[in-house]
């Protein structure tokens, strides 16, 4: 068969969409399955079909009631509180420290910078036991402090990311402001911070995701049900030995990822460009 060039391109495009689209469906199946499950009747919730047997919106109401007399309203409030404070604290403090590393001069600067870089790769999991011992001795176990504070103070990863960004802002701006009598703090707040907007958004979203999804630290430190974030509540709520209402479980699972998905839809560009720039995972 003789095909013209444009026909060949068309065929290629069709093949591309069949393969890539098909695989895309396969990739997103677990998520679609969850959404479908949230609407199915409980007995049918685990079946493979993506077509709910009923539009069982009741699942959401039943799930929302939570357990132990505490509803998901409390769990969501806790999660928003933890992730919100961690995010705002992290982006402000990390950019503040990044400014110190790049735009001020002080003794030991190279030394501290080297230490910061060296600790970028230390995985948090390794620090859990050492931190647990310390927080336990300080009497912090049971409060939000050990969950929020370490996520709020600048972590090396974000600090380094901000350093890279601050370096890209021309120093002429600082100098002009300095001549006008601006202090270093003034330069940071009036000149650098507004210019950091893209990286603040990217870092902020990732900080929010990680804090929202954080499971291990609340597992270690939070003991009363009223302080549980969604991640812990979901684990308890979905205990396969106790659960009977699968529809409600799927409904709450779906709600728990909704903030992540909404942020993703609105800030896609920032996220994908941020990943490409910095290698955030």
């Amino acid at each position: 068969m003789n095909l013209t060039f444009s026909q060949k391109e068309k065929l290629k495009n069709i093949l591309f969409h069949v393969l890539v689209g098909g695989f895309c469906f396969f990739m997103l199946y677990p998520l679609l399955w969850m959404v479908a499950g949230s609407l199915k009747t409980s007995g049918n919730a685990l079946s493979a079909t993506l077509w709910p047997d009923a539009m069982q919106f009741r699942n959401f109401l039943e799930g929302w009631r939570g357990f132990g007399g505490v509803s998901f309203a409390t769990f969501f409030r806790n999660s928003f509180f933890i992730a919100g404070t961690a995010t705002i604290g992290q982006i402000l403090l990390a950019s503040f420290s990044a400014f110190g590393f790049t735009r001020t001069r002080f003794i030991g600067q190279k030394f501290w910078f080297a230490i910061m870089i060296a600790t970028v790769l230390v995985p948090g999991q390794i620090l859990r036991i050492p931190q647990y011992i310390m927080f336990n001795q300080w009497g912090w176990v049971g409060s939000f402090l050990p969950v929020i504070l370490p996520q709020m103070l600048p972590v090396p990863f974000f600090t380094f990311l901000m350093v890279q960004f601050v370096r890209g802002i021309p120093t002429e701006l600082d100098e002009a402001a300095e001549i006008d009598g601006c202090s270093k703090f003034g330069i940071f707040f009036k000149i650098i911070l507004p210019n950091l907007k893209p990286v603040l958004v990217t870092a902020g979203i990732f900080r929010f995701y990680w804090s929202w999804n954080d499971f291990m630290t609340p597992l270690l430190y939070l003991q009363s049900v009223t302080k549980y974030p969604v991640s812990i509540a979901l684990k308890m709520f979905s205990d396969p030995n106790a659960i009977t209402n699968w529809g409600a479980m799927f409904a709450m699972t779906f709600l728990s990822i909704l903030p992540t998905i909404i942020l993703f839809i609105f800030f896609q560009r920032y996220l994908i460009d941020g990943v490409a720039f910095s290698g955030i995972d």
């Binding site: 400014f99 590393f101 859990r128 050492p130 992540t260």
Partner: protein, 316 residues
């Protein structure tokens, strides 16, 4: 220190009072700015890590005070702790399969999305979604149900006739670890985006030159794309490896380390022994061992990178 006094000397010979004041102010300002990071580093990393080095040399449980035992914890771990060795083995097994699978999927799709076609942006975003959700409890819960005996995966296999009977994949001694490896491979979105950015950096001229030399598409991939992408591959490899070495949430929720400890990865063992069972001293030793091990693996990877990672400045 030399620097500091040297600077002071020259300051004195000029306008002593004025400049000294300025010098102090400069230093103070610098430290005020890095203070948030410094507090975080000292309080949440350096201090607990060093203290736990001491505790690793003590017998210390959640109910008692630490008492010095020297290297006993370490000796016990290396000579008498079967779970330590099996958890190391499971963790290596997981990393050795999950990291290459994730990176290979990421690279393959980055190559597919390299050429802009209609809807490429949509697909790229859709493939990226699992990456942002991957660490969540929600995904782990879904995965657990997907591969349970009543789950959808069995529905598929039974429907296409591969299997007659349903089995619980998460409770099977041989397959359980693979449900977690597949979950890791599923989240290839981030490295995919990083590969795409890397691919954009490769100069078009190189492909034209290769084409003139008569290189086919496959040959072009192996002689142009792959070598020029090695720095990005290396970056992804290090980042993903360090992360996957300490996999916790997924295992803790999906298999809980079972069956028969066949999915008991290091981070879960560390948590159980050190915190659930309350052996803080022993747990500290376990934490230090994995920290040292991970550092060694990272250094070895960096050392071998000279041999296979291509840096443009060398080649020209």
């Amino acid at each position: 220190m030399n620097n500091k006094f040297g600077a002071l000397d020259s300051v004195r010979s000029l306008d002593a009072g004025m400049n000294k004041k300025k010098w102090i102010k400069e230093n103070l300002t610098g430290y005020v700015f890095i203070l948030p990071w410094l507090i975080g580093f000292l309080a949440f990393l350096a201090f607990p890590l060093l203290r736990s080095l001491y505790y690793s040399l003590t017998e210390y449980t959640i109910v008692g005070d630490p008492s010095w035992v020297g290297l006993r914890n370490y000796i016990e771990i290396f000579t008498g702790d079967e779970k330590f060795w099996s958890s190391l083995k499971v963790t290596f097994y997981y990393v050795v399969f999950a990291v290459p699978l994730r990176l290979a999927s990421a690279l393959a799709l980055a190559l597919v999305f390299r050429k802009a076609r209609p809807f490429t942006n949509f697909y790229r975003a859709a493939y990226y979604v699992p990456s942002i959700l991957g660490g969540s409890v929600a995904i782990s819960v879904i995965w657990r149900q997907l591969f349970s005996s009543e789950g959808a995966f069995n529905d598929f296999l039974v429907a296409i006739g591969v299997m007659g009977d349903r089995i619980s994949w998460i409770a099977h001694p041989d397959y359980a670890i693979w449900t977690i490896i597949v979950l890791a491979a599923w989240q290839f979105g981030s490295p995919m985006i990083i590969f795409l950015a890397g691919l954009k950096q490769i100069p078009k001229g190189l492909y034209e030159a290769a084409e003139i030399d008569g290189a086919g598409k496959i040959q072009q991939f192996f002689s142009v794309t792959l070598p020029l992408l090695t720095p990005v591959i290396f970056f992804n490899l290090i980042m993903q490896m360090v992360k996957m070495f300490m996999v916790f949430t997924q295992v803790y929720i999906i298999t809980e380390g079972g069956p028969l400890n066949r999915t008991l990865v290091y981070a879960v063992y560390l948590y159980r022994k050190g915190i659930s069972n309350g052996y803080l001293g022993y747990g500290s030793a376990l934490a230090w061992i994995i920290l040292v091990l991970l550092t060694i693996v990272t250094i070895v990877l960096f050392k071998t990178s000279n041999r296979w990672v291509y840096y443009e400045s060398e080649g020209e």
